[in-house]
């Protein structure tokens, strides 16, 4: 025991850690391992066969593509929102700041039916798109709208504290050396907030990939066109195709882990470059 942990006068270590590990195992680790054991029963060939099925591939493509687009939109506008909230004052700013977290607090099903109603061809917002012959609801564009809503707070909340910490002196120094405002942003401020921006982007992206509730109402769920991978999992489950559902789930998990890993490496690489 003494090797495993450093000595402390405080009591309760065994109880606290024991309970933590037990609860973690029962609720998270054992259930999640069931996922991998189940997909292993298919064998590599069976796994590959399910994952490369046309409909599965199409749903994965839709999921990752729409999630990526939504995360890019959120990265761009989230940066502007964070900037405005940190740097400027305007009436109602505190309410606006609190409202940014709405997507965390509003149940996804509520967001789903509301967005579907708003962007339906005759809805409040949909009618303007209809006038230009653009369909939002029941197309991949609708999925992007839902995923943009879901991911909205991530970039704002990761960039905000970092932007607030950027020292005014550095900006002043750059300005007094003759840098224009855009130069200062590009060369001084942006490099400082870039890692946080990337983190926010990754969080929004990851959240969007798994999202279900807000999407299914607005997506139209047409196989090969606007069917997301989580919905296909549910469809397989409803047909008692546990193996198929599990395989898609594992494929989604592996793809998102690979993605997060890539973003982490990118971040690590850019922060190393930044410190030199």
């Amino acid at each position: 025991m003494s090797q495993f942990r450093a000595h402390s006068v405080l009591p309760g270590f065994n109880l606290a850690l024991g309970f933590t590990l037990l609860y973690l195992s029962l609720i998270v680790l054992i259930p999640l391992s069931a996922l991998f054991v189940k997909s292993a029963t298919l064998g590599l060939g069976g796994f590959w066969h399910v994952v490369t099925g046309d409909r599965v591939l199409a749903s994965l493509r839709v999921t990752f593509f729409t999630s990526f687009v939504a995360a890019v939109i959120n990265a761009f506008f989230g940066l502007i929102v964070a900037w405005v909230l940190v740097r400027y004052t305007f009436p109602g700013k505190r309410i606006v700041d609190a409202l940014v977290d709405l997507p965390f607090a509003l149940p996804t099903a509520v967001a789903g039916i509301t967005l579907a109603t708003l962007y339906a061809p005759n809805g409040w917002l949909g009618q303007y798109f209809t006038a230009h012959d653009i369909k939002v609801a029941y197309t991949p564009l609708g999925i992007v709208v839902a995923l943009t809503f879901i991911g909205l707070p991530f970039v704002v909340r990761t960039v905000q504290p970092v932007l607030a910490d950027v020292e005014a002196e550095v900006e002043e120094a750059a300005a007094s050396l003759g840098a224009g405002r855009w130069d200062v942003f590009q060369r001084v401020i942006f490099p400082a907030i870039y890692p946080a921006l990337l983190t926010g982007f990754a969080l929004a992206f990851a959240r969007a990939i798994g999202e279900y509730g807000s999407v299914i109402f607005i997506a139209g769920n047409m196989p090969y066109i606007s069917e997301i991978a989580p919905l296909l999992i549910v469809a397989k489950l409803e047909q008692y195709d546990y193996a198929g559902a599990t395989t898609i789930a594992v494929a989604m998990l592996l793809l998102s882990f690979a993605l997060l890993l890539a973003i982490n490496i990118l971040q690590w690489w850019s922060s190393r470059r930044g410190t030199r």
């Binding site: 606290a16 279900y212 509730g213 998102s256």
Partner: protein
């Protein structure tokens, strides 16, 4: 004098750029947050208050509300006890594998809600690992209330722990060590020293955990079986009503959930403000 003015100007954007950025940011927020939030209530009341009240007094709506409250009443305390225990072990002691443990605690956030439900079906469903045993003993977990509670605990698992761990780590353990060396027992130390220090962080985690527990859709949808009046939570009831084209009723129930979201945001802001005032900075997480 001239150079001074120039310098002051160059560390701020011009007025037009400032205004443009504010307008862009606010338009974006109004379009994606403001209008949808407003629309929930307008849709719910589109046929008048009378139909709104009637929709909420439906027996099925009532049982959905009760089930949602019950689920949150179990899931939130369970994750609260876990969060405190995990934070106590991680923040107050040094041991091997700590960062791995922290990563594992965050794991449910990386999993799609649908998959969170799926794992319990694989374990306890009719064709799952424990399915035959459960059936032989006449215990129903999937397509029943226990499954809903389990799936909800899973998706809200990290909320309180990830709030408390960085907070308690930042506070260190000197105060607790002083209390213990003065003769306080472990529980006394926790109740009188630790708890007052973390109360705002704790409350913050509880609010966010509760909002998610009451609003969870994907995970619960997979394990619920959608039995009206039995295994429908409020979000699931919203789905059923919406799919039946009963929009007024769907948005009426949805408006309750939207109110919950608004209350959550208000309380959250108050807690943040209080925490700042009492010098207990909160960890801002998703």
């Amino acid at each position: 004098m001239a150079t001074q003015i120039q310098r002051r100007i160059s560390t701020h954007e011009s007025v037009s750029v400032t205004l443009l950025l504010i307008v862009v940011a606010l338009s974006y927020l109004v379009l994606f947050l403001g209008i949808p939030l407003f629309a929930v209530f307008v849709q719910a009341l589109s046929k008048g208050w009378e139909l709104y009240w009637k929709a909420l007094q439906e027996p099925d709506a009532w049982s959905a509300i009760k089930l949602t409250l019950l689920t949150a009443a179990i899931a939130v305390p369970a994750n609260l006890v876990f969060g405190v225990a995990a934070a106590w072990a991680i923040a107050k002691f040094e041991f091997k594998g700590k960062s791995l443990l922290i990563t594992l605690i965050d794991l449910p956030f990386a999993v799609s809600p649908v998959v969170s439900g799926l794992v319990y079906v694989l374990l306890f469903g009719a064709q799952g690992w424990f399915g035959p045993w459960l059936q032989a003993h006449d215990i129903k977990l999937i397509f029943a209330v226990p499954g809903i509670v389990l799936a909800t605990i899973f998706v809200t698992f990290p909320f309180i722990a990830r709030e408390l761990i960085p907070l308690m780590q930042a506070q260190g353990k000197e105060e607790e060590e002083a209390a213990v060396s003065l003769g306080a027992s472990g529980w006394q130390t926790f109740w009188r020293v630790t708890l007052p220090n973390i109360k705002w962080g704790l409350l913050y985690g509880v609010i966010l955990c509760n909002a998610r527990a009451m609003g969870e859709f994907g995970a619960v949808s997979v394990v619920s079986g959608h039995i009206r009046g039995m295994t429908n939570t409020m979000p699931l009831h919203v789905e059923i009503l919406y799919n039946e084209y009963n929009f007024v009723a769907a948005f009426a129930v949805a408006s309750l959930l939207a109110l919950l979201a608004l209350v959550t945001l208000v309380v959250k802001s108050l807690v943040e403000w209080q925490a700042k005032r009492s010098g207990e900075p909160l960890h801002h997480g998703a």
